[in-house]
């Protein structure tokens, strides 16, 4: 890991009191460029994969060429959420939102928008129905129904600049807490706010803190759980990458409240950018005296170190995470004793999720009362979801608790693309369940989701349309579960393996009528016989899909048919003789030479050779559409 270079401006300056923080903030605002011209390039993982770094380089070189480097500030930001339209560039002072920006667009943006104050129309978001163009982020439907509390800074500040964070009221919350509140008052405020843990189970954060605060012992720990292992979830990653200082501030507040002087961030090693941004942030805080001894002259000492995980889903579980930090295999242990009493190295330990800790910073800045007004009676605040799958606006969304699934999928997510029908939405990753269309008006709350057999989880939300096979999805999650089971509890280790095997057989057309009952029986055994949250929840994808989509299981078992045309053993590809123009495209593309034919000779698929990869269908020109895929029926050529 590269150590960040010492920063000139603040090398000798220390923030040693709440007053000096205000002074520092003032000096940053005073030093800003007078033109206010700023180009903010999203460098979240999604936009980076779409080439935002090339766009940034183009802005730097082009502005240099045009002699604008003193007038225009070019900065990177974290994820703005609308990952599917990346790379995203926002141009200030007018806050103009450009999407799908390529490096070829850069000269035009500079000469038009930055120099002439004109808008580059082709890069604006456009309503597909009305043709209306949206100039600003807030006008775009994707953002309209969202409420960005945790993601407030994400996409707006440079995550590697402490000055940027201080400018948007950074560290004001911790200044208030350490200078004007007692630890008990902080805990009381968190309890009043109604904040519940965002890791998945929704345990009230204030009560957890109180337990650790009251636990005897001088040495206590705060652990930030950044081991986001859910496949298809990237909320915590985006927050750690895009707004690392808010995470640190939340940890400092937690440390002050429970009397801990050491913080640990446990983050997945697969998230190198998050690790880099967090360590840069820690170094910058230490430079300014915000971490270390006597934070802001209050007598409170706090230090934070990063521990990288090693790729085990189960380490998201509190006691497994502790085992991993202690250098052991990530195997959970029975609770109680809870980590808040006996955690890391046997000391009282608070483990909070990334999102929970950022909520803490916001609550202490704006007040518990403000926070308790957001959301519903029992579910306060907002929740971030990573909205993925077959939905138009794939990305990171933050909505008020109590928003319905329909609003999230259709209003924020823009609905299902390609004229396809919605089938189900899966929340909570491998521990969650599939929710069918008739329950779409369900408000998103911990309890409502649990009542229908799913969970809130950390916030994965997978939308599926009719081209997704529900049995295959259950099989997928069980494959994941049997791989990630730590192996300690026999019902989990062996039960998930058996369930996976049964599901595999069903998708291969080798299921038998008793399978559904056996799956039920095994699922109950795994739930009852496991000591940790993983074992207790991983049967959920199977149970919920059987509950709501039993028909599809039956079709697979009895009719050997997969209506979504996904299960390979149950489908076959055919070339319609009357449509085939013998263009040779599929014949050349077939990886196993299963296509018979020649120029002027209509093609045919040799079913004994075909591996059903679908390449022929992919390459057949749409004007011919000669390849068809069928299941459960006899085709006569």
């Amino acid at each position: 890991m590269k150590k960040p270079a010492p920063r000139e401006s603040s090398k000798s300056f220390k923030i040693d009191s709440p007053e000096s923080l205000q002074l520092f903030k003032k000096s940053i605002v005073a030093g800003e460029s007078a033109t206010g011209k700023e180009v903010v390039i999203c460098c979240g993982s999604g936009c980076m994969s779409s080439g935002s770094e090339h766009v940034r380089e183009a802005f730097v070189s082009e502005s240099k060429q045009q002699g604008l480097e003193d007038e225009v500030t070019i900065k990177r930001s974290g994820c703005r959420g609308l990952c599917v339209r990346g790379p995203i560039v926002v141009v200030d002072p007018d806050d103009i939102f450009y999407q799908y920006v390529t490096k070829e667009d850069v000269p035009e943006i500079i000469s038009e928008t930055l120099l002439e104050n004109r808008v580059v129309e082709k890069l604006l978001d456009e309503d597909p129905a009305t043709g209306k163009k949206y100039l600003h982020e807030d006008d775009i439907p994707f953002y309209k129904k969202q409420k960005r509390v945790v993601l407030k800074n994400c996409g707006r500040i440079d995550p590697t600049s402490i000055e940027d964070y201080i400018k948007v009221d950074g560290f004001q919350a911790v200044a208030k807490v350490v200078s004007r509140m007692t630890p008990e008052e902080v805990i009381e405020d968190i309890k009043l706010s109604g904040l519940r843990g965002r890791g998945g189970a929704g345990f009230p954060t204030g009560i957890k803190w109180e337990t650790a605060g009251n636990a005897p012992g001088e040495e206590k720990y705060i652990i930030c759980n950044g081991d986001e292992g859910d496949p298809g979830a990237f909320m915590d990653r985006s927050v750690m990458e895009g707004d690392p200082f808010s995470v640190l501030e939340g940890m400092m507040i937690a440390g002050y409240a429970v009397g801990a002087s050491r913080g640990i961030i446990y983050v997945r090693a697969e998230y190198p950018l998050a690790v880099h941004h967090l360590s840069t942030a820690i170094a910058q805080c230490a430079d300014l005296g915000l971490l270390g001894r006597d934070v802001m002259g209050s007598g409170f000492d706090f230090e934070i170190k990063i521990v990288k995980g090693a790729g085990a889903f189960v380490c998201g579980e509190e006691t497994a995470l502790i085992a991993s930090v202690e250098g052991r295999s990530g195997q959970p242990r029975p609770k109680p004793p809870f980590p808040a009493i006996q955690g890391l190295w046997g000391k009282p330990t608070i483990i909070n999720n990334v999102e929970t800790l950022v909520n803490v910073s916001r609550i202490m800045l704006n007040g518990a009362e403000w926070y308790s007004k957001i959301g519903t009676e029992t579910n306060k605040g907002t929740k971030i979801f990573s909205l993925v799958g077959t939905v138009r606006n794939v990305g990171l969304v933050e909505v008020e608790m109590g928003t319905t699934l329909r609003e999230i999928i259709y209003d924020v997510g823009g609905g299902i693309p390609g004229g396809k029908r919605f089938k189900a939405v899966q929340t909570g990753g491998p521990s969650g369940g599939c929710i069918p269309e008739e329950l779409l008006d369900l408000p998103v709350e911990y309890e409502t989701l649990a009542n229908v057999g799913s969970i809130m989880g950390s916030g994965g939300m997978l939308v599926m349309d009719e081209s997704t096979c529900i049995v295959n999805i259950a099989r997928y999650f069980l494959d994941f579960a049997q791989h990630e089971s730590c192996g300690q509890c026999v019902p989990c280790r062996l039960g998930t393996k058996q369930m996976f095997k049964i599901l595999k057989d069903i998708t291969k057309g080798e299921g038998n009528p008793q399978d559904i009952n056996t799956l039920f029986y095994l699922a109950e055994a795994v739930k009852a016989g496991s000591i940790c949250g993983l074992g207790m929840t991983v049967p959920n994808p199977v149970l919920s899909t059987i509950k709501y989509f039993r028909d599809e299981y039956r079709e697979h078992i009895h009719e050997k048919r997969c209506r979504a045309l996904v299960c390979r053993s149950l489908i076959s590809y055919h070339i319609k003789e009357y449509k085939c123009k013998a263009c040779l495209k599929c014949l050349q593309a077939c990886p196993v030479d299963a296509i018979i034919g020649a120029k002027w000779q209509v093609h045919e698929i040799d079913q004994t050779k075909c591996v059903k990869c679908g390449t022929c269908m992919e390459v057949c020109p749409s004007r011919f559409s000669a390849v068809e895929c069928v299941s459960g029926q006899v085709i006569e050529d």
């Binding site: 697969e270 990288k308 790729g311």
Partner: protein
């Protein structure tokens, strides 16, 4: 050779038990995998039974006990990629490279892995070649990616 490189890594640590995973990570970064001799030396350094070091090294997916290929090809199997056909992509990659996921080609040029997840769900399905993210993969694109990669590397190495 191994000793010198290993000692350099170990010298940063103070021999506390909690350091085991960090040490293994650093050793793997240095050698590309965890050589058996290194595991024994680490056990001695931390005063742990070798069985415990081996247990940790095999528990976590991140660690590899055998030599890996020069180029790592990872096919994301996250949920978003899965519903967009990641399993087919993985099978095709296995066929093209002639190895199963988790294996390395006999010439140590390529290793193939599955992982979940890359976090680039908007661009699903994705394949990582080294650090490069290849997005919205199709069978055809995969073939192109694997063959260009192969050709480039071959012309580089002469």
């Amino acid at each position: 050779m191994l000793d010198r490189r290993l000692n350099k890594i170990l010298s940063v640590f103070e021999g506390e038990k909690g350091d085991l995973i960090s040490i293994l990570q650093r050793v793997q970064e240095e050698f590309g995998f965890l050589p058996e001799d290194a595991l024994a030396a680490i056990a001695e350094f931390l005063k742990l039974p070798p069985s415990q070091v081996f247990s940790v090294a095999t528990f976590y997916d991140y660690f590899h006990l055998t030599r890996r290929g020069d180029h790592l090809i990872c096919v994301c199997q996250g949920t978003a990629c899965h519903v967009r056909g990641a399993r087919d992509i993985l099978e095709m990659a296995e066929k093209t490279l002639g190895i199963k996921s988790g294996q390395t080609t006999p010439d140590f040029k390529y290793s193939l892995d599955r992982l979940a997840c890359v976090g680039s769900c908007a661009l699903a399905p994705v394949v990582l070649v080294g650090d490069d993210v290849h997005s919205k993969m199709t069978m055809k694109k995969l073939k192109d990616v694997l063959t260009t990669n192969r050709d480039n590397k071959e012309s580089e190495t002469g």
